[in-house]
Each structure stands twice: as structure tokens, then as C-alpha cells.
Subunit: 363 residues, 2 copies
């Protein structure tokens, strides 16, 4: 049985060059106080000049851009195939006129990386979302001609106004028409103020553990409320981190909709596909949730045949220098075995068969 990792990021050389050329977030830099150590600063709030460079962003080494290291990581963790994707913040920050060419270059780079390791690498492409819609649609069409592309990765910002922006409709239409799945991934988190005055004492825990999943949940709920899936009934979306918190909150979301006087007055409660229907027909979830409790809720919400193993590599490396296997990976392996006691077939589906079937790998 194959093991397939659908949540695994790369910064291809073109993208690393781009980040090295920049001086504001996102960027890569060797700071004067530690000139031999490159830092990757990508998150809002990571770029605090009052902090020593070793606290800004994270160290970046070849595991981020050398595809041979991805393959070594896969071998180490018994992963047969990875569906790689550009890591956040993708091309969201690029000026409109640069985005189209940058996306082409990066997608070609990634396609070339995949071609070097037949059967082992596929990818989600990157869209030039700051470019005009027809440039985006053209890139979606072009991705269909690249043999290893199996969808696109997208942040929650869309064209800058969220994924409930009606201006995205031609893009959703093109993705639906060309059967390109969206891998929806957080990046922007929540405003720093929500974490309170002591947040910096807690490292990156609050924005990473809570901000990311909450961002995803808000984005997908906005898609739901704006009727994206009523207009695009076949649009498929793979949600990072097991849906953020969507499986757990789906009931509350439906209850709040059903009890909302404003929605009722505008006829928006009836005649819509509800969140449970979308979870079972349009949404896939990765299995990056680090506990059997969360994983079981994800299974209950979407079905074990819609859940896909992932690692989030190269993020969350072990802090111990002598660690062989990554805890962040073994925790998710462990959750899958615990969630399916005595049901090996279901576990194998989550580990790889679902991805092969849904993403048409090896075909």
C-alpha cells in the first residue's frame, strides 16, 4: 500500500531568489548578528527588529529548497509519494504585473522537480492571484498541460478580499471546469491583539496552533455563506489541518445560520447546500491534526474516504538534533492507527489510497 503525503511544502530556487531579493515580509536574509545562518521571515509579526535575529522567523536550510532533501525525508518516513506545494505566502505579495510570469516560472520549476523523480512527486500549482483574472484563468489552463500538477494551492486572501469575493467566480469556474482541486491553506492568522499582552512569552504557539486553524475556518465559512458551493457544485477543496476547526464547529455554524433573523429575512436560510452536505461532497481534509480526537472528528464530518495523510514538512522539525524520525510526523501516523483500531483498510485509505484515487496519481 502506498503512503502519500499531500501536505508538504517546497520553496523552489526561483522562489528563494525572489525572497532573497526582498527587504520586507516575506523575505530571506542573513542578519549581521548571525551572518552564517539564513532566516526565513514569512508571518505577519515575525519581523520585530527589537528581537535578536535568532528569534525572527525560522532558520532556512536546504530542506526548504533542495528537492533531494525532500526525497530523503520521504525515505526516512516511509512516504512513497508527495504532492508538493509552494509554501505560504505563495505569490500573494507580488505586484500585479509580476505575478503572471513568476507563477509560470515557479510552476515550471516545480514541474521539473517532479519529473526528476518519477512516481514519487506530484504538485499543487501556484496561481498569480494579484494578476488580472484572465491571467489567473490562463495559468489554470496551462497547469493542465503540466503532467504532475494535481490542483492548486491557495491562501485565504484570494484576490485580496477573501474567498467569498464574487470576483473569484471566473477562477472558481475555471478550476471546476478543469477539475483542479484547491488546497486551501492559512497564512495570515489573526491580528496579534487577540493573543493578549503575554503572547511573546509563548513563542509561536498561539498564532500557529490557533491562528492558522481559525483563519481556515473563517475562510471556508465565508465561502459557505456566500454560496460558492451553490454556484459551483463540483468545486473541490482540500482543507489544511483537517479543516482548521470546521468539523468541530460545523454544528454550531448550521445552528447559527438557522437562528439568524437577518439571513431569514433575506431568504438565505432555505434552498442552500448546508455545511454537512459540502463536507461530504466538496471538501477533503488532510490528516494533519496531531491527535486521535481531532482525527476522529474529521472522519465523522467528512468520511474516512475523504481524509488524506500529510506532514507539513519542512515545518515543525524536531528540536532534538539527534532525532531520526520527526515527532510531528509520527504523531500523525499514530493518530491514524489509533483512530482505526482493527480497521487496517480504512487506515491504509487515509495513508495513501484516498490520495491516489482522488488526485489520480500514478495514472
Amino acid at each position: 500500500m502506498p503512503i502519500v503525503d499531500v501536505h508538504t511544502h517546497v520553496y523552489p530556487p526561483t522562489f528563494v531568489e525572489l525572497l532573497r531579493s526582498r527587504t520586507s515580509v516575506p523575505y530571506i536574509r542573513n542578519f549581521p548578528d548571525a551572518p552564517d545562518s539564513a532566516r526565513l521571515v514569512i508571518l505577519p509579526g515575525e519581523d520585530d527588529p527589537s528581537m535578536p535575529s535568532t528569534s525572527r522567523g525560522r532558520p532556512i536550510g536546504p530542506e526548504y529548497y533542495d528537492i533531494a532533501q525532500k526525497i530523503a525525508f520521504m525515505d526516512q518516513h516511509r512516504i512513497d509519494t508527495s504532492v508538493i506545494s509552494l509554501a505560504n505566502p505563495w505569490l500573494d505579495f507580488l505586484p500585479s504585473e509580476e505575478a503572471g510570469e513568476a507563477a509560470k516560472k515557479i510552476n515550471d520549476d516545480v514541474e521539473e522537480q517532479c519529473a526528476r523523480y518519477p512516481g514519487r512527486l506530484y504538485a499543487f500549482g501556484t496561481l498569480p492571484l494579484s494578476a488580472p483574472a484572465d491571467t489567473v484563468v490562463k495559468e489554470i489552463e496551462r497547469l493542465g498541460s503540466l503532467n504532475h500538477m494535481r490542483g492548486v494551492i491557495m491562501g485565504t486572501s484570494g484576490l485580496g478580499n477573501g474567498l467569498d469575493d464574487p470576483a473569484l467566480d471566473p477562477i472558481y469556474a475555471a478550476l471546476e471546469k478543469h477539475e483542479q482541486l484547491i488546497f486551501l491553506h492559512p497564512h495570515y492568522g489573526l491580528p496579534a491583539s487577540v493573543y493578549g499582552p503575554r503572547a511573546s512569552e509563548y513563542g509561536h504557539v498561539l498564532p500557529l496552533a490557533l491562528g492558522f486553524p481559525l483563519e481556515t475556518t473563517i475562510a471556508v465559512t465565508r465561502m459557505l455563506l456566500s454560496g460558492v458551493w451553490d454556484r459551483f457544485k463540483n468545486l473541490k477543496v482540500l482543507l489544511a489541518h483537517s479543516g482548521g476547526t470546521l468539523p468541530f464547529l460545523a454544528g454550531r455554524i448550521e445552528s447559527c445560520i438557522a437562528h439568524d433573523g437577518h439571513l431569514k429575512k433575506h431568504g438565505k436560510i432555505e434552498n442552500r447546500r448546508d455545511v454537512w452536505e459540502i463536507l461530504m461532497a466538496n471538501i477533503y481534509l488532510d490528516a494533519v491534526i496531531y491527535s486521535p480526537v481531532g482525527l476522529k472528528a474529521a472522519i465523522d464530518a467528512s468520511g474516512a474516504d475523504r481524509l488524506l495523510f500529510g506532514t507539513d514538512h519542512p515545518f515543525f522539525p524536531p528540536l532534538e538534533e539527534d532525532a531520526k524520525e520527526w515527532h510531528s510526523v509520527t504523531t500523525n501516523y499514530g493518530a491514524i492507527s489509533t483512530a482505526f483500531p482493527g480497521k487496517e483498510a480504512a487506515a491504509e485509505d487515509v495513508l495513501g489510497n484516498n490520495a491516489v484515487r482522488i488526485l489520480k496519481l500514478h495514472s
Copy 2:
């Protein structure tokens, strides 16, 4: 078997008077464009003067302050006993010098309401959190002398700086010493900006369905990270809305802690009680989650013996005028029967036995 509702709010007459005397959030007012209909405006962002009064806040009627209506609601929904609590935003907004007396009056009001219906009503008291700590501690001690008080309700703001504020330590110590449970409830939500430019089209869904649970999750994670439960090993907290999203995200929280270089450098990863231990020893969850998926995750995280039925009455009334039972209540009843197929005893524990045991009701 008894049915006990642990999440059910009142605005006792003293509090209604207080809100009627105010002109900024929170307040109660009869607006000139609809003079016969009183509106309760309590949430940040509900007070938009450009909106018609019928879109500001919510209508408030006797179901909010007439305790006979609470009893009628309980009879209608087969609820034997309710543990009532002042609704948000409690006394968080009061000037320091007024809070102590206001809390006494409201707690006495509520105690008197409970005494009128022997065996049917208990309560969580209200603390004067804007007053000096010793005033708060005195009210905690005084609550012990009121026969129907079974803990205190608290928002996520604490003394204004969150529940990870070390200034709360004397209050946590007093609550622990007097075995008073905290019912932790959201109110402040998230900044409106996170919901995007179309949020107003979605009624109150985003702040209520997502903002509230996320606020609770952030608050309790800050308590965890600041070591509140390492210092107060017997402090008990009942989390509203099944913990916000804590059961689902607990694994990610632990993984982010274990992989945080800053926490490791400061020796904060080892020698602490982890979230799973706290969930099984210090945290109780209500069963206000509106789906079997969420409820099962709550059970998996905390145990079926720590889950307590609730309604959130008088919020989320049915929109249909002729509805007899409230959907918001029957959905939670339904989730409990679905979550325990064939295990009637466990369902009965969640519906009432747990509350009787944990809150020492009828004794």
C-alpha cells in the same frame, strides 16, 4: 433521571435596570423608530447607528428577566434543574468603585430567584472583576454563604488583561480554596476585521459561530501556557460551547508547544501538565455544540463523565413564531442520543447525573 441545564442565562431585574440606564454597549433601549420593542445591545459591533434598530442587537422580552419564563421554558423542554448565570458581559464594563456593590446586589437577586423554586434552580455567581482583588476575593467568600451558588461565571477578559494575567492568582487561589468552579464564557469575540468585507451580509453568524468559540479557545490556551494549572492544580473550569474548539485543536496545541524553540530555550516544554491532562482533570465541557461530531470529540477529549448538558437559553430562540420546542435545544438533545448509541447510562450522565455529582446539586 434528572435533566440539568448548566448553560442558561438570566438578566435579573437589577441588571436590566443597570443596562437601561446606559447609552453605550452594553445597553437596553427602546429606539424611536420602534418604540414598543426593547433591544438588547451587548456585543462589540452590534451598535451601528446606520442600521435600523431592528438590526441592532436583539429583541429583549421577559424571557430574559422573568424567572417564571425560565421555569416555563424548563417545563417545556423536560429540564428539571437549571444552573442559571448572568449573561455576558456580566460586570466587566463597570467602574471599579461600583462593581463590588453591583455584584452583591445581582448575586443576592439571583440567590433569591433560586430560593423561590426549590430544587429547580441553582446559580453561578458574578464577580466584580473591575474592583480591587480583595473585593473580588471577599465576594467569592460571600458566595459560599449563599445556598444556591455553585461557582462563578467569568468572561475571557479577567481583570482586563486576559486569564493568563498573574494578577488573577489571588482570585484563582480563592476559587480553588472554596471549591468554586469557573464557568468560562466568551463575549468579546474577534476584531471585526477578521470576518472580511461581506460579514454584515451574513447576519451574526461569523461572530457567534466562530468568534465566540475561538475566543474561548484562545483564553484557555493562554491559561495553559502561563501555567495556571501548574500553580492551581485543583482549579476547575467549565468551558462554554464544549470548549470552543479546544477538543479538536488540543493535539495541534501540544505539537506546537513541543516544537517551539523559544519555549524550549526557556525550559517551558518539560515539567508541565499538558492539555490532555488538564482536559481530564480540571476542565469540564458543556454539551452545547449542536452536532454528534463535535459532541463525540468533546467526549473523547474530556470523558463522558465530564460533559454537561446545556441550552444557552434565552439565546437562539426559534425564528418560527409557532414553534413549541426550541430547535437549538432539540439539536443538542439529538446530538447526545446520537453520540451514545445503545449506551443510555452515559447519555443520562451527560443529561443530568454529571451535573448533580460535579456541582453537588440537591445536597
